[in-house]
Amino acid sequence: MELKIRKSGETYIIDVNGEMDLYNSYKLKELVTRMLEKKVGRFIINLENVDYIDSSGIGALIYICSTIKKMNLKLIITNIHGSVKKVIELTKLMGYFPITQTIEDALLKMEA
């Protein structure tokens, strides 16, 4: 799994590339934790290039989502598709996560 960060206005977009599994999902948690320490307040996690996720990956997203919610900061997860979508649906968390279809929608929602 590879993580890349880019910036759009005040929002930081994290592009996740590869598989979010039991061997590497902690990396995303660590990255977001470091960014929170640097006072980043707006996050978009882009899962466009993620085709495999397991319970550790879902766990990482839950941890990130609940941490950011508790801090009253902003997070949107975007481009969920394929098996990632199916696994989130199986855990019935589609309503729990703040989700948009595209990065553009996420940026618009971020400003709202």
Partner: protein
């Protein structure tokens, strides 16, 4: 009455030593050391025997990997001396899996079922604020890398049953897939 009926619908993990899901007749068998680094590799060795139709964007692989991970990590505590035994059979209409470890058994099973019941209630009420406390189950031995959500998905996915033996160190499960219709159109049949 309606509330009662709705309660009964909540899926739960069963303990039933005599479940037909433990019948290993005609199932293939493999056993592995409890090597955490190789969980996905072991899973692939099993899934490669499944027909492509039921692999559905890696979902079968992912679900089997979770069960093997539980056996390796929570059952056998990653002790390489301890084995994980897997029996499996696949067809275009089913996936049947039995996974046994050499651990002490899933002691938290009742606690997990109770946790899941509350979680389901939050979901039914769309109460996402309360749900926040029930998104992941933390057993006594859980660490930061445990998602705590694998079994919620497992109960949904394995729709033909998800059953432990009495000792709770062996779990059997079944997934049913709908029969595919043959793509033959009969003249005049518009249905």
């Amino acid at each position: 009455m309606r509330a009662e009926a709705s309660k009964n619908k909540v899926k739960k993990i069963l303990v039933d030593e005599n479940s037909p899901l433990f019948d290993k007749t005609n199932m293939l068998h493999k056993e592995f050391p409890s090597d955490f680094r190789q969980i996905r590799y072991f899973t692939l060795l099993i899934v490669q025997t499944a027909p492509p139709d039921i692999k559905d964007v890696n979902l079968l692989e992912q679900q089997i990997s979770e069960i093997i991970k539980n056996a390796v990590k929570h059952g056998n505590k990653c002790n390489m001396e301890k084995k994980v035994r897997v029996w499996y059979s696949f067809s275009p209409e089913h996936a049947h899996l039995i996974v046994e470890d050499e651990g002490e058994g899933f002691k938290d099973l009742e606690k997990w079922n109770s946790f899941n019941r509350t979680r389901q209630e939050c979901l039914e009420k769309q109460n996402f604020e309360a749900l926040a406390e029930y998104v992941s189950y933390r057993g006594a031995a859980a660490d930061d890398n445990d998602g705590g959500n694998a079994l919620f998905a497992a109960l949904e996915y394995w729709d033909g049953g998800f059953v432990f033996n009495q000792k709770r160190n062996c779990v059997a499960m079944l997934k049913k897939f709908p029969k595919r219709r043959l793509g033959v159109q009969v003249d005049g049949d518009n249905s």
